[in-house]
Symmetry: C2
Subunit: 154 residues, 2 copies
DNA sequence: CCGACTCGGTTGCTTGATGCAACCCAGTGT
DNA sequence: ACACTGGGTTGCATCAAGCAACCGAGTCGG
């Protein structure tokens, strides 16, 4: 997105998109959720321009979606973590994941599978564990590589 | 978003965002879901530039998310409708709506409320009817103006 | 028969975000 | 002394978005 505001829109969807609707923002959140926490990791994993990654991270920190913490001193090096607000984007990501799986399917199968950490059950498009029925969140779900990834890695 | 592809990304979230992650796309889908079906209605409601609206509608049609139908001849006039694929974006929109309501709250209350057409129950962030427990879809949910809209309309 | 209005766009121009490559800096390893 | 790593910043070219003007078919009012 170019400008991050939708002038005149009084709608919570528009307000959400003002914050996370910019190009790359949701993919950064997804990557951090999957354990990519460092600048270079994110840059390589996403293939994003470094200046743009820098700007996005700053924006996500300003919006209290990410938090930057030093993991060592001299030289100081940083990691990015999701706040509660950031973790709460999980249901939206799951909905987009499922929509993508349904309508842009990989012939090999989905590239990423989500399951319930405690019981191993699959997750529905509503973020509900299909085997135990619990409504899941970022903390008790886990991403595992699916069959669609295999073809891309070779 | 500028370019609509995320090169090298093998991920259904990225694939979804390639299609609906461009600036305005999800808001157009939301508007059509709420009954704005004509070019001028959409243009006024969104405050989007006409050339951009034209490009987005064409893209959404190409992606089989919208369908254009003539509602009269001479002069021919058109309306845009959501396909099943478009309607299935509903859970993602609901997730974003709830996230926006929670973290960018309007002091007056939410500008838009969603309820279950049949029983009038409120809808959770997972798109589940809070009163009867049913998992809802675009067709059996309804958007109604909430308290947050009042202040903006005056 | 002439002008104004509506709907659904398209065309041109300007502005601003993005992509890319190069550079920077502190510290570490060899 | 030199290269390497992590975490960026700077400059420049390109491409998409915003804006206003225009267009074309048909309809209405006088």
């Amino acid at each position: 997105m170019l400008r991050n505001d939708y002038p005149g829109q009084v709608c919570s969807i528009a307000r959400s998109l003002e914050v996370v609707g910019e190009r790359w923002s949701l993919l950064i959140v997804r990557d951090v959720m999957n354990g990519n926490r460092r600048f270079d990791e994110l840059q390589k994993s996403l293939g994003i321009a470094r200046n743009v990654l820098s700007a996005r991270l700053q924006r996500l920190i300003d919006e209290d979606i990410l938090e930057r913490r030093a993991y060592q001193e001299s030289p100081t090096r940083y990691e990015y973590f999701l706040t509660e607000k950031g973790l709460d984007l999980w249901p939206a990501l799951i909905a987009l994941l499922n929509w993508g799986d349904r309508y842009s399917p990989d012939p090999q199968g989905p590239p990423m599978l989500i399951d319930h950490k405690e019981c191993g059950g699959a997750v529905s498009d509503r973020g509900i564990c299909k085997s135990c029925g619990q409504a899941l969140h970022a903390r008790n779900a886990r991403a595992i590589p699916g069959p669609g990834l295999a073809g891309a890695v070779e």
